[in-house]
Structure formats: C-alpha cells, structure tokens
Symmetry: C2
Subunit: 329 residues, 2 copies
C-alpha cells in the first residue's frame, strides 16, 4: 500500500529528525541551521535520477545511501564536517511503503555512520522516475574551506582510495564487458558495491583543511575532474597512469583488457578526493591521512599552463582519451 | 539545440551567480554561506514537478519564478529575509536552449525583485518530467524565527492578501468550471496569474518577527494549513468564512457557484501568510503590515482544544469540507 504524504512524513521521515534540533521535527515550513562559532557553513546540492545515477533495480537502502553520500563527498572535499541535510523525494506511485521503509533504513544507517541529521525537505509525487535531491550542510573552520582554485605549479596531486572501481562496478552490474564479466564473483561484487554505495571521505576533511591547497571530489572521472581543478586554479597537471591507485579487482580487469584503463581514469562514480599539496607539506598530509585511516597516493604534479592535464604511460607518452569525463548531457 | 551540461552551467546559470560571493561563481563543489552576525540561518526546500505543480504548457520563465517563489514564501512566513538559493534542474531532452534561456530570464527577474542570488545546485537529465528542486536560505534576527507552534488561545488569526485565487486560477487555465469560465477575460487572467506566479510576502517578514506568535505560508489550502498550525501549537481555531479576504474575481466566481467557496478555502496555491497575533499586538501588526504594503485581514480566533479548525458561515453554522487541503498523495 502506498503511504499518504502525511504518513510518509510523520511515520517514516520524522523519525530521521530530532524534535529538539533545528529540524523542528519536520513540523515547520523551514529549518533553523544554527551558526557554529568559528566556522563557515558549506552547502552542496546533488540530485540523483533513476535510470541516470542509479538503476531502477537497485536496492532502496543503497539508493538512499548513494544519494546522501555523494553530497557528503562534496562536503569532505571542501574540508567540512557534515552536519545536516534536506531531502526532496519525487516518488513514483509504484513504490510502496516497504520500499520507502527500506529507503529510510538506508538513510538511518548513514546518519549514524556519518553523524548527520535530516533537517527538512519535501515529498512530491513523480509521474516519471524516482528522483532524490539532497542539499547537505557542513561546517569548516572559518576561512579554511578548501577550494578548487588554490593549486599552484610544483604542487603534488593526490587521490584518496582507488580509482575506477565505480565505473567498472557499473559494468559488472550491467554485464557485457568481457574482462569484467570474467572476474570471479567476489571481485565483481566488490566493484559493484563501489558503484552502488560510495564512501564519502569525511575522515580526510581535517587533513585537507590543514594541508591541501585545492581539492574536489572525483565524481565524473579523474582526468576530467583534474582538468576542472587545474582550470579553476589557472594551471595544468601531469599525472602518471601507473601511479593511479587501483583496487585488486580493477587491476585484474585492466590486465584482461587494457582499454579499461581509460574507462577507469575517465568513467566517474569514484567519490574519492582529488587534491593538491605543496611538496613541503606532503609528509604531514600523508601522516594526517594515515592517522585518519584514508589511503592517499601521489599521482603527479601541477605544472604551469592552461592546457588540459596530461596523463603519461610508463614509457612517458601522453595517453589520449576520447573524453575526459562523464557528461550528463 | 540542447545545450551541453557545461554550456548550461557556464553560459546560462553562472551569470545568475557572482564570482565574488559564497557561490564561488558556480565553479566549485559547494558554496560558502557566510554567517550574518546577529542572525540565524533559515533553510527551506521545495520541489516542483511538471504535471503536478505546474503544467507542461506553462511559460518557462513563470515555471522558474514559481519554483523560486514558493521557497521565498516559506522564508517570508518564518520572518526571514531571503539571501540565496540552490537550484537542481532535472531537464527532459525536449527542452532546448531557448526554453532554458527563458527559464533563466525568469530567475534573473526574481533575483532582482527579491534580492536573492544563485549559490549552487545541480543539473541532470530527466528521462521523465521536468523537475525543479530549490533550497533557499534566509536570515532571521537571532532567536526570532516565527514558528508554526507558537499560537495561543485568544490570539487573532490573520491572512495576507486574498485567498483562493491560485486554485481558481488553475480552474481558469484548465477550463471546465462554468462559474470560472463565465468570468470576463481580465478576471480569468488575474486568477491564472496568481496560480502561475505567486507573490512571496517577504515584505511582511519584519512585521511577523516583531508581532506574530506563529506563522506559516498557505500552500495546500487555508483550512488544512490552519489545522497544521493549530496542531503544532496544541490549540484549535475558529474562523469566519465571510471574513476570509477574496479578490473581486474570486468573489464573482463564488457568487456564480457557491460551491467554489469550499474550493477557495481548501484548494491551495495561495502562497499567502497565515499567522496569529495576540490581541494587544494587533494594532501594531496591522500598522507594520500597512507600512510594508501588504494587506492583512483578521479572519478568526485561536481557541483551546485539539480538534480541527472550525469555519463558520454567516449564520454561525460550521461548514463541512470534503477535505481541508490539497494532499500530493
């Protein structure tokens, strides 16, 4: 049975909010986002559409987690601690109460894991696909938000975690890529999980604030996103393909089909942090990241110039990509 | 020709933002919403779906204005001054550059009228209807946000402007309601305009902060929304149908078909302010509203009790409505 709007808000969503915080228990027109002294408020908004950012068959709890996590990933990249979020749900009629309960359970898990609370939003009926729009707010020490535009020539380029798992995970779910289909079940599952449930690197935020000159999250492909960061900073970059960290599963897929390297470097859905760090701060950054439990890997260098980033293979030759990143249209 | 995502952001949306404010010119992952000293930040989120909240045939500039204005209306109801907003656009492929330019022109007009700026957002492709999700932020003097829950027995119930024009305007656009179809062209146009382009009552915000004990905006129908306010405050309300302010056009439609009074009182899309004011503050509230150029009308009284609000006709009998408000599902 499809719940009414009132049931949806009062019975399913309100338990995600606290009556005694700025959410006002979801009983008002708006929420109150109190100022945290000594901090700036960082706000980001990402919308996910069924059939575009997730598949209709994906588990509702995972759709909820992905929708929240891609926003938390943006906060992490800016050096912010997550605080609260606003959720707009456009629900097709076919999604019943059980589906919504599972969606809410996914949010609840992530609220606990990432210490973030629902503060408000909207629920509407969709005559088309499910859409989830989230606006997330976080706190960064005053004046210390890490921007895309702060990179300088000579600085090192780092990424967190491993690159390419998300896009290869989508291939694993969709099938039809022989070198991915040929992986064993656990490897395919591992890749698929990276696509379905990204890991926002909030633990890395303090290290970014302290040491990074520029940062962003990798959502649309490493090469394209590095191009955006370089362009915003008025510089270029050179990275080594061999230095880009890959998971064991991705490494095996690429060993089976070398063309998948390009897909890993440009495919998107990584939700890892891309950042730049001055050479004299590198040791401290690596130490802080290690203490936070987040692997970071130096993959290249920021250089002068306005051209797009160059990715070199082991022989030092520049790789050419059909496109640097995923474009929604 | 459909613009690319990059063209959409850089050529069409970025001119709505300033490079030197917290939007960072839409070139970063997130925006910085600076603290305004002595103020609290009020945040609201409303999503509009084609075919549900507006019609596919509606002019793009008006769709943009309605999407922004319903959010500004929430800020106004809380006593806040609007500051900035985040826009998520889920665009069907059929909408071309000309459509998007007209949509952006509508936003630009309203940004100037209401002194609000685009701070960020997201653009995605929709395989279904157009959806517009906006998160708006405003500033209210510290500790003075006007809540739904502050009403007390004995206080007066006020509404701004006129009630019922939005829902009668939808009837005028859709046709098929004889008493509305029978109005002259200018009257139908006036009603239609109220549905298409609501008027957020931001000018009333300071008067609400200073004098109202509770407030909300009327979006889903006066009777139902008054019920929400009363319930949040732990009280009930009695209002007189004859006291509810109606436009000349609405009055004429209802004169032609008495059943339309119920539609006016319960139909929604008013985006007027509903508030409660203590008797000893009424004169000051009315004076402040008059100075702000917003008509306000006392329509009844807050009373003890937990039942839904009672609407009395001229004879003092309680009117019975099929439903108190518009429910999305």
């Amino acid at each position: 049975v499809v719940p009414s709007e009132r049931e949806l808000i009062e019975e399913l969503l309100a338990p995600l909010a606290r009556p005694d915080d700025g959410s006002l228990g979801l009983t008002d027109d708006a929420a109150l986002v109190a100022h945290r002294p000594g901090h700036d408020l960082v706000v980001t908004q990402d919308t996910l559409v069924e059939g575009v950012h997730f598949r209709a068959a994906d588990a509702p709890g995972q759709v909820a987690q992905k929708s929240l996590r891609v926003n938390l990933s943006d906060l992490a990249a800016k050096g912010a601690a997550a605080r609260c979020y606003f959720l707009s749900l456009a629900l097709p009629e076919r999604l019943d109460r059980a589906w919504i309960e599972a969606f809410v359970a996914g949010l609840k898990r992530d609220q606990e894991e990432f210490a973030v609370a629902l503060f408000g939003g909207d629920t509407v009926r969709s005559p088309g696909p499910l859409m989830v729009s989230i606006t997330a707010c976080g706190d960064v020490p005053e004046g210390e938000m890490v921007r895309r535009s702060g990179a300088h020539a000579g600085e090192r380029v780092y990424v967190s975690g491993t690159i390419g798992d998300g896009t290869l995970g989508l291939a694993a779910l969709d099938g039809g890529v022989p070198a991915v289909d040929g992986l064993d079940g656990p490897a395919r599952d591992e890749l698929a999980r990276r696509y379905l449930v990204p890991r926002p690197r909030l633990a890395l935020a303090p290290a970014l604030c302290a040491h990074a000159s520029a940062a962003m999250d990798v959502s649309d492909g490493l090469v394209g996103d590095l191009g955006l960061l370089a362009r915003a900073s008025g510089v270029s970059a050179e990275i080594e393909a061999a230095a880009v960290p890959l998971s064991a599963a991705a490494r095996r897929a690429i060993a089976g089909d070398g063309a998948l390297l390009a897909r890993a470097l440009t495919g998107g859905d990584d939700y890892e942090i891309l950042c730049t760090v001055a050479p004299q701060s590198s040791a401290a950054f690596e130490a802080a990241a290690g203490k936070a439990g987040v692997a970071v890997t130096a993959i290249g260098t920021i250089v002068e110039g306005g051209a797009g980033p160059v990715v070199r293979d082991a022989a030092g030759d520049a790789l050419v990509f059909e496109r640097g990143s995923y474009a929604h249209f």
